[in-house]
Symmetry: C2
Subunit: 682 residues, 2 copies
């Protein structure tokens, strides 16, 4: 059989079948190469899977899961029960041919070839990791044609652009329970992401059971931490999904939780309590205190047994060293050791930490501030600083690889900034202004989206990560040449958003829950009209000074129902674009319908507010929407906007844009301006 598979694949990829164009890809991330052929493979109750060659337990589980997903999506009662080595039918719809098990290594082969013919589906890969990616591609290809559930006939050759395709989740600012982590691992693997970076400690919490110093999690977590059993469970779960797990203990800054538990390690003698606000705080470990290294050695030692990955992330970001400079003993230590600047002291600290990690068999990973001559080239640098931090656009990553480090990019992938998918999708790893040698470019291992959790809870976690992160995943996986077309990306993002919900994502359903809650179960569809054109305020402006919200604030409000790339706003933007290209009566009518909805929604909205005072904060926003609806109707139906009115309307829209009610913004104002300006030329 193996020989047969190989021969068939060779034939197909050499000579090809009759090719056919497809209007629209379903896939995200797009594969390196794909050819569509005429016809379909039809799913029926005999649909089954067989694994050839190397048998890995995780691949059986994965294949079984995809089999179940296909049954669940089609409603077909597939005969094949649970998939095990002993249960594989000899005649199978899907044959998976694997050479060996994959390792979590930056050199690993994750490629696969996929052939779907009318006779069946063949996935061929070097490692089981590649086969798992192939299975996800198969699942994404499932579609309906002519009353049947089918797979289009394709030949795919695929391998990732980058080996490091990560998502960081901060579980310190708000704790994220085990199942929410697991669900997101599952969603990550569905878009071929393979690194989970677990930000386990920060000023607001220390989230790991440490037996040698139990006060760390007992005093540092409000009772919300992961037991060792839970961590092992998550690491094993991730491994079964082809995802490596990188733990982060952020030191020497971002250490308030550690110091709340162990104030004796502090650089300043004061009382420490868990931080409840957001921001950059001064509590910092004392790098001149030997106990600091003793404790970190114990912590890293215990954690090294939980986390098999070779990398261990030690944070290292945003330490301003204030409490060092104000401590005479530390200042004296710096003088004695010829450390001129807090940066030098941090380098000293990192070099000590590096040795602790090395003695536990770990390589060091850290935010870009850890770069220093004391840190050897085996370190992995996470680039995060950008224009706001005084770095030239895109320069920070290039600096790291020019310094000789392997590096990954997070600047440009901060999903907590609440920017649209298009923004992350257009992030370039190396700007045009910078030239890298081939060796330097090879040191760019990939990227990580970062989900900082100041303003999220398990209720909103998924809607803050998905579907946007699928577009980022494509950025990490697909060839650069295939990640340029934003409109095409959005059309596929809409499809992948549905697939994500089918396999468990809560990004749609929890949004609806919040809408029902905030409307007090009175006409939620009216509230939805406003939610769908509003977005949470961006780039940390929702939470001024990091103090308007704290850990225990309600994250169950209007802003929490709103998502980035607001659906109604995107639809309106498309209608305006169509209208500008062609002011046909059809395009006019579509806009008129939207404007009517905006206009009439407000009186109902006020009814809802009367039963749900929680919504008072956005009553003005609803009124603005009403005004824009009236304005739109006046423009299109009555066709009698004077130049003076137009000018005043545009000014009015600027005021509307500035409204911060409910800590959200009306996301239709730019499109509305384009619409109004276009009237001049009509």
């Amino acid at each position: 059989m193996k020989l047969f598979v190989s021969t068939l694949m060779t034939l197909v990829f050499t000579f090809g079948f009759a090719q056919e164009n497809k209007d629209k890809d379903n896939l995200m991330p797009l594969p390196s190469s794909i050819e569509y052929h005429k016809g379909y493979f039809v799913v029926d109750k005999n649909f089954s899977v067989r694994i050839e060659g190397y048998k890995s337990n995780r691949l059986f589980k994965y294949a079984d899961k995809v089999l179940r997903r296909i049954s669940n999506e089609s409603g077909i009662f597939v005969d094949q029960k649970i998939l095990t080595t002993s249960s594989n039918p000899q005649t199978s719809s899907v044959v998976i041919d694997v050479e060996r098990g994959g390792k979590f290594d930056v050199e690993e082969d994750e490629s696969y070839e996929l052939l779907i013919s009318k006779e069946g589906i063949i996935i061929k890969s070097v490692t089981d990791l590649g086969a798992m990616h192939g299975l996800e591609t198969v699942y994404q290809l499932l579609e309906v044609n002519n009353g049947k559930y089918v797979f289009p006939l394709v030949s795919i050759k695929d391998s990732p652009r980058f080996v490091w395709r990560g998502l960081m989740i901060d579980v310190a600012r708000h704790f994220i329970p085990v199942d929410d982590i697991k669900r997101n691992l599952e969603l990550m693997s569905s878009v071929k992401m393979n690194v989970f970076h677990w930000h386990l400690s920060d000023d607001q919490g220390f989230r790991v059971q440490i037996d040698s110093h139990p006060e760390l999690y007992k005093k540092g977590s409000d009772g919300n931490y992961y037991t060792k059993t839970q961590i092992k469970d998550i690491v094993a779960y991730a491994s079964d999904l082809g995802i490596r797990v990188i733990p982060e203990i952020d030191v020497p800054g971002h250490a308030t939780a550690i110091l709340t538990a162990m104030p004796q390690l502090a650089s300043k003698d004061t009382t420490y309590t868990l931080e409840r606000n957001a921001g950059i705080f001064s509590p910092v470990l004392d790098p001149t205190n030997p106990e600091t290294y003793k404790v970190l050695g114990d912590v890293i030692g215990e954690m090294s047994e939980l986390f098999p990955d070779k990398y261990f992330h030690i944070g290292g970001d945003e330490n301003e060293g204030k409490n060092w400079e104000s401590n005479p003993d530390i200042v004296a230590f710096m003088k004695k050791n010829d450390l001129k600047h807090p940066h030098d002291l941090q380098a000293y600290f990192n070099s000590k930490l590096y040795k602790i990690l090395a003695s536990n068999g770990k390589e060091i990973m850290g935010w870009e501030e850890i770069q220093n001559e004391a840190i050897p080239k085996g370190a992995l640098i996470q680039s995060w600083r950008g224009v706001n931090e005084g770095e030239e656009v895109g320069a920070s990553l290039s600096k790291a690889v020019k310094n000789g480090y392997n590096a990954i990019l997070s600047n440009g992938f901060y999903i907590d900034l609440m920017l649209p998918a298009s923004s992350y999708y257009s992030t370039e790893f190396v700007p045009n202004t910078i030239e890298l040698s081939k060796e330097e470019e090879a040191r760019i291992l990939g990227g990580e989206a970062t989900m900082w959790s100041e303003l999220i809870t398990p209720l909103t976690l998924d809607s803050r990560i998905w579907p946007r992160t699928a577009a980022i995943a494509e950025k990490y996986w697909s060839p650069k040449s295939k990640t340029k077309d934003v409109d095409n990306m959005y059309s596929r993002l809409d499809l992948v958003s549905k697939k994500l919900e089918r396999i468990g994502s809560q990004h749609i359903k929890n949004k609806d829950v919040i809408i029902r809650n905030i409307s007090n179960y009175n006409q939620p569809e009216v509230v939805k009209v406003l939610v769908d054109v509003c977005e949470p305020m961006k780039v940390y402006s929702r939470n001024p000074n990091g103090t308007m919200y704290n850990t225990f604030s309600p994250y169950t409000k209007f802003a929490d129902a709103c998502i980035v790339d607001a659906i109604g706003a995107r639809e309106f933007g498309n209608l305006v674009n169509d209208f500008i290209k062609d002011d046909s009566s059809e395009n006019r009518l579509k806009l008129v319908e939207v404007f009517r909805l905006w206009k009439t929604n407000h009186s109902n909205f006020l009814e809802v507010v009367a039963t749900s005072p929680m919504l008072e904060e956005v009553a003005l926003k609803s009124k603005y929407l009403n005004e824009l609806g009236v304005l739109g109707l006046k423009s299109l139906e009555l066709n009698n906007i004077s130049p003076l009115e137009l000018k005043s309307a545009l000014k009015n829209i600027d005021e509307i844009s500035a409204d911060e009610g409910g800590r959200t913004e009306l996301a239709i104002t730019n499109s509305m301006k384009l619409f109004l300006k276009s009237l001049d030329h009509k």
Copy 2:
């Protein structure tokens, strides 16, 4: 302060405030006594909680949780951070006064008194269990009045009718993961239920880690079992919610999973594999084999360390003894020991089990078949047999208490039968035809709703339990006299359904997910029209012979989106009732609107079917709905139904009722008949 609280409570309950009637209670279960007073206590950011008297850790957690819920529901940024002994403000909105910690005992005091005045809220109770019930009552009372979040002023005295208010969840037929169990414990406690009966083994699975015989869970669970750590975690979690946990290992029948792992314990020498279908099967343990008791002793020994409750449930149901009678050795054993009937052999088996339990400090609990002279009166009997099993209505429970046992009732509370809430609500513990002495009546400890899981998965679990089980919880908690009014129950059930969603239930949101999935994200609102008037087939008729569906079938289909007490069907029923009482033009118009929707929905439904073949199975049902709409419109708008047409229409409706498309029934046919028949008299 304690004295002040006591004095105030005495004054209020003695003299009372000015009383005011309230149109509608929010509460479920209803308290023993409640008086409303004029006015409200208003929630603002100073809202806070203090605990007086006995300090129990679980009460702090519970109070903190309710504080967070109030903040989340109102959107008010409550100043008080996490609630601990050290963080209690001296001036508090809520003062909780508790004498001592509660125990899980059938004699325990769970009563509380609740006083809400304009100055604040006082909860007074003997045990922390009582205070926790009081906190749930407070949360249910939260409402909106005149633009504010308020609590109505009330004096409540409350205590449960029954001490045993349980929910059984079967995790054998389909495995239910830890978080789904925890969420349902939380929901149970919100309606004052206090017993979680965990059905851990059956023909389809053995779900407990047992270290002395690891093959039990390794071969008996498809990898889906609870580790000891997870079990301890769940038991502790339940205890913090005031819920006791009763484990069940179902023996000697329902034992296919055990025998798959350990065929040497079987009464018949054959090959055993995990059962994938539903029903009553013949595999049964060999009660003549000493190893059977050795293994059960080990299992019970290990489990007794995980489950602190004094009761241990050994199943004992539905063993027909076929494999005993066909085994000559067993027949010989029976003869030798003068055991005439398989029942006698099972009694022998139970008496051995009883001793194992006793040696582990456990009392025996079992399904009613375990009653026998060998079983002492300390046993707790679970009555489940009813008319279908040849028992007189309501007789089985009474028999058990007449036999001298404590007993609980499950017959009449089988929620997997998919009957309406009204059916369970009208279940009587003792039928009028039976007389019990006071002592006998006192032996009725309460009841348990049973959630057998042949046709449920985590996706549908909540919608199969909630909100119906809240009505059952009221049956167990509230005075008998207060559980008679079905309409009133339904109006409060609608409220409690929303509260359940607010605190995490997935019964609404997962239904929407399934609707989106089965519509393939094309016009889900059209599919919802049909879902909302259909119910899953009842009383096990959805799964004929237990073989149409198996463990791995897709439970993601039309029937899985449908719920009992279908919303649209209930609304239509109410409109028909209104119309029959008064055929005003207003009432006519409301019906006309519904009929129009039914009529017009079908063409859109066919559009959806074209993109989602999974829905073909209910296309005819949509057509029937369309026909009923046309018929309704003809009756009301055209007013020209002839007696002959009416007769034919009624016959047609009988056919429609019999349609089993999608394994569902159109739940509007009875109301439609009432409507048509009423036309005769108009």
